[in-house]
Point group: C3
Chain length 356, copies 3
Amino acid sequence: MSARLADLHAALGGVLHGTQERRVTRIAPLAEADEESLAFVAHPRYRAALAHSRAGVVIVPPDCVADALARPHPPAVGWTAWACDDPYLTFARLTQWWRRHVQPRPRHAGVHPSAWVAPGAQVHPDATIGPFAVIEDGAVVEAGAEIGAHSVVEARARVGAHARLAAHVVLGFDCALGARSIVHGGTIIGADGFGFAPYDLPGAHGKAWEKIEQLGAVRIGADVEIGANCCIDRGALGDTVLEDGVKLDNLIQIGHNVRVGRHTAMAGCVGVAGSARIGAHCTLGGGAIVLGHLELADHVHISAASVVMRSITQPGHYSGIFPIDDNRSWEKNAATLRQLHALRERLKALERRHQP
Amino acid sequence: MSARLADLHAALGGVLHGTQERRVTRIAPLAEADEESLAFVAHPRYRAALAHSRAGVVIVPPDCVADALARPHPPAVGWTAWACDDPYLTFARLTQWWRRHVQPRPRHAGVHPSAWVAPGAQVHPDATIGPFAVIEDGAVVEAGAEIGAHSVVEARARVGAHARLAAHVVLGFDCALGARSIVHGGTIIGADGFGFAPYDLPGAHGKAWEKIEQLGAVRIGADVEIGANCCIDRGALGDTVLEDGVKLDNLIQIGHNVRVGRHTAMAGCVGVAGSARIGAHCTLGGGAIVLGHLELADHVHISAASVVMRSITQPGHYSGIFPIDDNRSWEKNAATLRQLHALRERLKALERRHQP
Amino acid sequence: MSARLADLHAALGGVLHGTQERRVTRIAPLAEADEESLAFVAHPRYRAALAHSRAGVVIVPPDCVADALARPHPPAVGWTAWACDDPYLTFARLTQWWRRHVQPRPRHAGVHPSAWVAPGAQVHPDATIGPFAVIEDGAVVEAGAEIGAHSVVEARARVGAHARLAAHVVLGFDCALGARSIVHGGTIIGADGFGFAPYDLPGAHGKAWEKIEQLGAVRIGADVEIGANCCIDRGALGDTVLEDGVKLDNLIQIGHNVRVGRHTAMAGCVGVAGSARIGAHCTLGGGAIVLGHLELADHVHISAASVVMRSITQPGHYSGIFPIDDNRSWEKNAATLRQLHALRERLKALERRHQP
C-alpha cells in the first residue's frame, strides 16, 4: 500500500515545499510517523511537536512550512512540507482519497446470491446487496447504494443513491435514508416509539399500559452518518426526522418524533427523548440526555453526560456534571449536598444577624 | 388509507356529537390536523388548543364537547366531537384499530423459504417465520407468533402465542417470552450475565477474572414490550425475570438475576445492575442507573439520569440530577462543590462564634 | 442433570468433610438450595446465613467447616462441607465444569449448510460456523473457534483459537480477536470511529463535518470477554486495542484508538471516548463515562455513573454521582447548587467581617 505524493497533491491542492517526488506508505500521527509517512499539524500551536517528528511529508499551515523543512537529520530524500489553509480538513479529505485508492473497504459486487430480494423491490443495477440481506416488497435501493450483510430494508423503505448500510442494519418499513448517508452495524431505524396510555387495571393496585401504535416513520436526510447499535424510532403520528449532515456516534437513542437539525453532531451514548427538537449545528457530548418535548436552539453545545431538563433558547455551551473526586472526598461532599438548601438557610440567618 | 367514522365508533365506543357520516384519512396531532383528520384532547386543560384546530373529528372529554362543536369556520360537512371518559386511552386503542385495519404492518406469511427451522423445533402452523430466521432444536413457537427476519430462537426457547420478535432479535437457549409480548430489533435476550471471580494472577501485579458460567435463563411474562438493541442477561444460577406487562424502551441493560415487577416501565438507556429487584408499577426515566442487589418498592418513580445507590422502600418520586447551566456558571459551581464539606465546616465555625 | 460429588471434587480440589458419596442436581444460592444442591459461602462473614441453609453440599472457607456440618436437621445422607481457600473462585470454576459436563451450551457442529464462507477464507476443520454466518475473503477462523448464527467475520479478520462469537456479532475487516475470547450477541467490532473535520459550509450559518476515514482496525487480546450490543470502533490511523483478559459487560462504547489495559473490567453502559488510555486492573462502574484523550493509571476504580473529565494518575477509587433523594428535597438542593459559588462568596464575606 502506497501512493505517489504527486497524486495526493493533484487530488487535494495546496502548495508543496521541499522534496516533491516521493511515495507515501501510510498516514500516521506526528509522533509515530516515519520517513515514508504523511502526518499533519492542525494548527501553529502544535509547532513544537513538529520538531521531533520523522514524518517525511507534513501537511502544515503556511506559517509552519519553514519549521517542517528545518527539521534536523533529514532523510536522504529530504523533507516535504505541504502547506494548506486548513490542514485538518485536508487530512480528512486525504483519508477519503486513501480509502478510495490505496486501502479500499472490502465490498461485495452486485446482488449476493444468498440475499433475498422480494419481487416487488426495486434495486438499481449499480447497487450492491450483501450476503443474506433482505429487501422487502416496495423497497427502493438507488444507484450506487450498498446494503451490507444481513441488513434488512423493509417494505417500502428507500435507500438513497450512494448511501451505505453496514452489516446488520434494519431500515424499517416506510422509512427513508438520503443520498450518501452511512449507517453502521446493528443500528435499528424505525422500531416503534415508546408510547403507551396508562389505564387502571381491574384488580391491580396500579396502572397498566395500553400500546399506542406508532403510525409514523423515520426520514433521514443526505450526508448523514449514524454509528453502530443506535436506535432511531419511528414517529407516533408524524415522522422522526434527522436533517442533512447530521452525525451520530454509536449507541445513541433518538425517540419518536424527535427532529435533529442540519449538521448537528452527537457523541456516543446520547439519549434524546420523544418529541425533542434539536437545532442545527449543535453538539451533544457523550452520554448527554435530552428530555422529551424540549427545544434546543441552533448552535447549542451540551457537555458530555449533562442532562438537558429545560428548553435552551440561546446558543452557547451548557454543562451539568458532578465533578469526579477521590471517593472519600466525594462521599463527604455528596452527603453535604443533601443538606445544601438547609445550609443556605443557615447562612441567610447568620447574614441577617450581622447586617453591617 | 381511510376509515369510516362509524366503524371506528363501533369498535371503540363513546358518544358521537355532530356529523356522524364521514371518513377519516389520518390521525394527527391537534395542531396539524385537517378536516379529514381525527385528533384528540386528552384533558380539559388543553381546551384552549382545541379552538384553533381544524380537526374534523376530535376525541374529547365529555365537558369539551361544546367547545369542539363551537369552533368557527366549520367545513361543509361540519365538526364531530367524540366524547370519551379517557380520550388518551381511546386514542391508544384507536391507533391499534388503525394499525390492524387501515395501515397494517407488513408481515410475512408462513415460514419463509430461506428460514432455517431445525427438525426438532416446534412451529405452530399459524406462526410466521421471516427470511433467514433460525429456530433451533427444541424451540417452540406458539400459535400466531411472528419471528422477524434474521431473528434467532435458540435451543429450547419458547415464544408465546401471538408474541412478536422484530428483525435481528436473539432469544437465547432455554429462555421464554410470554403471550402477546413484543421484542424490537437487535435486542439480545439471554446473553451471559457479567459474572467473574477475581483471583491473583501469577506474575501480574493485580487480579485477573475467572468466568462464572451463567446457568440460569430469562423468563419474560405476557404483554411485555422490549425496545430495540436492549440486553436482558440470563441469570447466574436462577433466572432473570420480567413480569407481565413490563415495558422497556430502547438500549436498556437488565443484568443477571434482576426481577422487574408487573407493569413497570423504563425509558431509553436505563441500566439495571445484577440482582436488583424492582417492584411493580414503577417508572424509571431515561438513562437512570440502578446499582446491583438493590430493592425498589412498588410505585417508585425515578427521574431520568438518576442513580439509585440504595434500596428504596417507600413509594414516591426520587431524583438526583446535576442541574444544567451555562458552562461558565457550572464550572464555578462544580469547583465549589468539591469544597462543599469544608464550606459546611466553616459555616459551623461561624455559627459557633455567633451564637445568640 | 446431575453430577457425582466425587467427580466435581476430582476436578476442582479442596478437602471434603462429611458425606462424600452423593449426587448434586443443581448449583444454587445458599438461601434457595435444597439437599441435592451445592451452594457456597464466599467468606466467614456470611457464616450466619449458612446455619439456615438446606444445601446438601457447601463450599466453605476452611474455618467454616464445623458450621456447615453442625447444621440442624440433616438429611438422611448427611451434610457435606467442601473446604477451599477461595470458595468464590472454586464456585466459578465449578460453574465452568458444570457447563461442560452437565448443562452444555447448545452448539452447532462443523460448518452449517446455510453459512456463506468465501472461497478465500480459512476455516479450521475443528471450527464451527452457525446458520447464515458469513466468513469473508481472507478471514481466518482458528481451531476450535465458534461462530454463531448470523455472525459476520469480515475480510481479513481473524478469530483466535477457541474464541467464540455468539449470534449477530460483526468482526470488522482487518480486526483480530485473541484466543479463547468471547463476544456476545449484537456486538459490532470495527465500525468506523467518530471522526470529522469541521468546515465552513457555503451558504450556511455554521460548520459542516467532513468525514475522516478510519484507516486503523481493532486488536483484541486473549481471554477477553465482551458483552452484548457493544461497539468497539476501529482506529483512525492506528488501532483500537483491548489487552488480554479485559472484561466488558453489555452496551459499552469504546471509541477509536482507545487502549484498555490487561484485566480491566467495565460494567454495563460505560462509554469511553476516543484515544483514552485506560490502565491495567482498573474497574469502571456501570454507566461511567471517560472523556477523550485522557489517561487512567493502573488500578484505578471508577464508581458507577461517574464522569472522568481529567486524567487520573494515582491508583484509587474515584466517584462523582449526584446523590438521589426524594424529588422535593432534590429540587431544593439542586436549585441551591446553582448558587453555590455565590454562597461561598457570601460565606467568605461574613468570615472577613468576623475575623477573631
